[in-house]
Amino acid sequence: MKNRLRVLRAERSWSQAELAEKLGVSRQTVNAIETGKYDPSLPLAFALARVFGQAIEGIFEPEGE
């Protein structure tokens, strides 16, 4: 799964640690999602969408699209 997490985070000048705190997860988890090593669960994807004020499909995109 591809995602725009890093771009969205940079737009808001948030560090990974700040985003992690907003989501209630570890920085390692934010980093793993950003780098595509880990695909979040649906609840965490919804939390990301809420934090960025976007729809889930505005953040995540299936590989190859």
Binding site: V25, S26, Q28, N31, A32
Partner: protein, 148 residues
């Protein structure tokens, strides 16, 4: 809002690459789990010493043997609390570590029986537990490195 160029992800520290980063709640429960593990290990060593040297006998020996078991139950409960305090990725890493530890421990205990029949030295059940523990730790290290 003007998009700033996306900065690359910061390199994880050595500690973070080995044991990951965690939330404050996970750090607290991790400390509690570590403390209970230490208490359990010390009680196990003390009970082994007392029983081996026959310092205690009769009913007191039974109580001495039971104490590490009861403290072990508290340690297991602390580990459960620790697991529940983790986020989903860290829980996955723990699960993968447990899978590796459990699998390696079972395989070792079953396969070693065959080696014993072939002439290898006889081991007891605590050796399998050590293999299980070692692979559990190894599994966690591999997981934290994989997702670092």
């Amino acid at each position: 809002m003007v998009a700033q160029p996306a900065s690359p992800a910061p390199r994880p520290s050595f500690r973070e690459a080995c044991v990951g980063s965690s939330t404050p709640a996970a750090r607290r429960s991790s400390l509690q789990f570590s403390a209970w593990t230490l208490v359990w290990a010390l009680s196990f060593l003390a009970a082994t010493f007392l029983l081996k040297r026959e310092v205690v006998a009769g009913a007191l020996a039974w109580v001495t043997a039971a104490v590490p078991g009861l403290l072990g139950l508290v340690t297991v409960a602390a580990y459960r609390r620790f697991l529940r305090s983790l986020d989903e990725l860290q829980r996955r890493i723990q699960l993968e570590g447990l899978a590796l530890g459990f699998g390696a421990g079972i395989l070792f205990s079953m396969c070693w029986r065959l080696f014993e029949r072939a002439g290898a030295p006889q081991l007891d059940i605590s050796d399998s537990a050590l293999v299980m523990l070692g692979f559990w730790v190894l599994g966690q290290l591999l997981g934290y490195r994989r997702y670092a």
